[in-house]
């Protein structure tokens, strides 16, 4: 409490950690969204095999803790000769897990669009594929945005697990600072506040996107 010097001293380390965290999110968030979109489409419009695969994917990755998935990728896969760097393992784990949640939001967005639109599209001579791409998908994208945005917020928070596969991200730097300075409470509180700031920033950006893309009623 006597001085805030330690925070100022910690700034370079915190910035370094923050950049690692931001890089993780910048890769995993869009990749997860794209994967989830494809999987959601496969669940709704695929043939029986791709439907089954997409459903199994979604159930598996939503049913297993992210940390177990990361441990399988980082500590487990080397047993069968696949060695991933920490960053690659973290990004792959985040993408696969968050894609599973995105696919669920995409699926419910598709379900919320009345069947009549498909029928109307077909009856004016569009193929199923054309109707999906030109009529349904643009709406699905907008309707799924709030849920998918929520998932991105979760991803920001769960990116803190990267430090458990030896990546020195924001949380990892926090631990180093805490152990060096013995200021455990203050350090982790500051780290938490940085995550809150990231989450708030992401939320307002997503809300802006939602407003811009809103379907006029």
């Amino acid at each position: 409490m006597t001085s805030f010097r330690w925070v100022i001293d910690a700034v370079p380390q915190l910035t370094q950690g923050l950049f690692v965290t931001l890089r993780l999110i910048a890769v995993a968030a869009p990749a997860g969204f794209v994967l989830g979109f494809v999987m959601g489409l496969a669940r709704m419009y695929g043939n029986r095999i791709s439907r089954g695969c997409a459903t199994a994917y979604q159930m598996t990755f939503r049913g297993v803790p992210l940390i177990v998935q990361l441990f399988i990728l980082y500590y487990g896969l080397p047993r069968v000769g696949i060695t991933l760097m920490p960053f690659a393992a973290a990004v792959l784990g985040f993408t696969l897990c968050s894609g599973a949640y995105h696919s669920e939001y995409v699926r419910s967005a598709i379900l919320s669009i009345p069947d009549g639109q498909m029928e109307a599209g077909r009856s004016i001579g569009m193929t199923t594929r054309q109707t999906v791409f030109h009529i349904i998908l643009p709406q699905v994208f907008r309707k799924a945005l709030p849920g998918c945005g929520n998932e991105i917020v979760y991803l920001i928070k769960y990116s803190s697990l990267a430090y458990l596969v030896t990546l020195v991200d924001l949380t990892g730097q926090g631990r180093l600072i805490a152990y060096a300075s013995f200021r455990f409470f203050e350090t982790f509180f500051v780290i938490g506040l940085i995550y809150v700031a990231l989450v708030s920033l992401a939320t307002s950006l997503l809300q802006l996107a939602e407003r811009r893309l809103r379907i006029p009623t």
């Binding site: 159930m59 940390i67 697990l161 982790f188 780290i191």
Partner: protein
């Protein structure tokens, strides 16, 4: 170094009972965190709807911290942070239940808030007109319905809390995840062991969700949902 005369399969077989014991600890963590979250989350949810502005600031702060901080940062904050303050000593198990319970309370408060707002104003007005006080109206008329509406979200909350318990090993609780880490190290069969507990978590998640569905069906009020659906149509 592991003993080369004992095969790693034998080590995994002999480790299965410890994994089961770890699973017991995991279940204790989930159940206590969810129960604590419900006991605290229900009044918080009511407060979110009815509290005065001064109280709302406190609610907002609580919400920001417990929904905004990553679980693992909260665990470190409570276990290492509070634990390092003079005069405070905190057990790993307590720290994990405290963190997961408070987190779940923050999330459950939002669930109950949404459910309370789903009930139409007319019911409150009718109860007040019949001479119920506002607390009685909330307790006897609104909350029983709100809890029913919340069950689908609660089953989701269960699966989130269950998966968060896998982080308990970072502060030294010997749960399923932590037993698996020991076993993976001892047998060196990391892939098999982690796949094994992935399956265990998978079964726990989906079994729990099925249980919640059964409860939902069990306590459904005949006709209540249908009326709502009709009105919406």
């Amino acid at each position: 170094m592991p003993d080369p005369t004992i095969s790693s399969t034998a080590i995994i077989w002999s480790g299965l009972p410890t994994l089961c014991r770890g699973m017991g600890v995991t279940l204790i963590l989930v159940i206590s965190a969810l129960a604590a979250g419900m006991l605290l989350g229900a009044p918080l949810g009511v407060a979110h709807v009815y509290a005065r502005r001064g109280v709302r600031i406190v609610l907002w702060l609580f919400d920001r911290i417990f929904r905004g901080f990553p679980t693992i940062v909260l665990l470190f904050l409570i276990y290492f942070g509070l634990g390092s303050l003079p005069g405070v000593s905190i057990q790993p198990l307590t720290a994990v239940i405290l963190v997961l319970g408070l987190r779940s309370a923050a999330y459950q408060a939002q669930i109950y808030r949404g459910a309370l707002l789903m009930i139409e104003r007319g019911q409150t007005e009718a109860a007040l007109a019949l001479g119920f006080s506002l607390p009685k109206t909330v307790l006897f008329i609104l909350l029983p319905q709100a809890l029913r509406f919340s069950l689908p979200s609660l089953s989701n909350e269960y699966s989130v809390v269950l998966k968060d318990t896998a982080l308990a090993f970072t502060v030294g609780v010997i749960d399923l995840m932590s037993r698996a880490k020991f076993l993976a190290m001892r047998s060196r069969e990391t892939l098999i062991v982690y796949l094994l507990i992935a399956a265990a978590y998978f079964i726990l998640t989906h079994a729990g969700i099925a249980l919640f569905r059964a409860v939902e069906r069990g306590i459904a009020i005949p006709g209540l949902g249908q009326q709502r659906a009709k009105r919406r149509a």
